[in-house]
């Protein structure tokens, strides 16, 4: 059962990854990436890493994907000329397909979660425990991996500062003058080109 689930989730992860590369619009690419992350979370669960499966869902699917989608929505991407070349299913058929695959995917991850209990009892794992036992990870993180941990906190701080500087610079320059900054001009342009849709 667990083996069949692994191969099913693996095939789904590869299919979604192909979708990431092939998607015409960045929005579909990111949604495919989300599907791939869900499948990988199921695989982590099956392989005996429940904490990392949860982290995968929280950090990747929860935070990083929302950041991607936020930028896509903010920049009003997706209604480029590429849209017209997007052949294939009709819109309603595509919606049905997406809804169906999402439901199947959720079911698969749920099955993996249900199966994980039996997997932990399997004799491949030492005394049937999870491989990413939280107390073990915490103890290691604050003893042997203390230096990487501190470096990671420094990296996060530097990232925060860098992102604020990168994203804010232009706005500071334009706000004193007038509302016709580059950002407002940019925001109007895609709306015009997106009218045929």
């Amino acid at each position: 059962m667990a083996e069949a689930l692994f191969y099913l989730l693996g095939a789904a992860a590869v299919a979604f990854a192909i979708g990431v590369v092939r998607a015409r619009m960045p929005l579909f690419s990111i949604l495919n990436l989300l599907g791939s992350f869900f499948c990988l979370a199921g695989i982590y669960l099956l392989a005996g890493f429940p904490f990392l499966a949860a982290t995968q869902l929280l950090v990747y699917a929860g935070a990083i994907m929302v950041l991607f989608l936020f930028v896509i929505m903010l920049l009003n991407l997706g209604d480029e000329a590429e849209l017209e070349r997007h052949a294939g299913l009709s819109l309603s058929g595509r919606r049905l397909f997406v809804a169906g695959t999402s439901a199947a995917l959720l079911g698969l991850v749920g099955l993996a979660a249900a199966d994980a209990t039996t997997v932990f009892a399997a004799d491949t794992l030492p005394e049937g425990r999870a491989l990413d036992d939280l107390s073990m990870l915490a103890r290691l993180l604050f003893s042997r991996y203390m230096l990487p941990f501190e470096a990671a906190s420094l990296l996060l701080l530097a990232t925060m500062v860098a992102v604020i500087v990168l994203a804010k610079r232009e706005r500071q320059r334009t706000t004193p003058s007038s509302a016709s900054g580059p950002l407002t001009a940019a925001r109007q342009e895609p709306v015009e080109s997106g009218a045929p849709r």
Partner: protein, 110 residues
Amino acid sequence: MSVPTDHLLALAAILFALGVLGFLVRKNVIIVLASIELMLNAANLSFLAASRHWSQSTLAGQGDPSAGPIFAIFVILVAAAEAAVGLALVIALYRLKQSVALDRVAELKG
């Protein structure tokens, strides 16, 4: 789950190859960043596959199974930082060019 480690590593290799393909072929910056995330995830999967491999009872004491999840956590952290900086760069690029197509950014081309 008694899936051999080879199959987990093969899955990681396929996902990494697809990420490389997307990184090299696509012109949209957002899809290129998504491909990088795909590659980082494949690396994570191979870390965890190795950790699971060394935790098997027949190989006890030969490897360190606890290093895999630790490294996976750090990879997730780096991926989060990379996504944040990358998307900030995308916003800055969009302000400059009103586009996210990479072939329109050729200032450094000699």
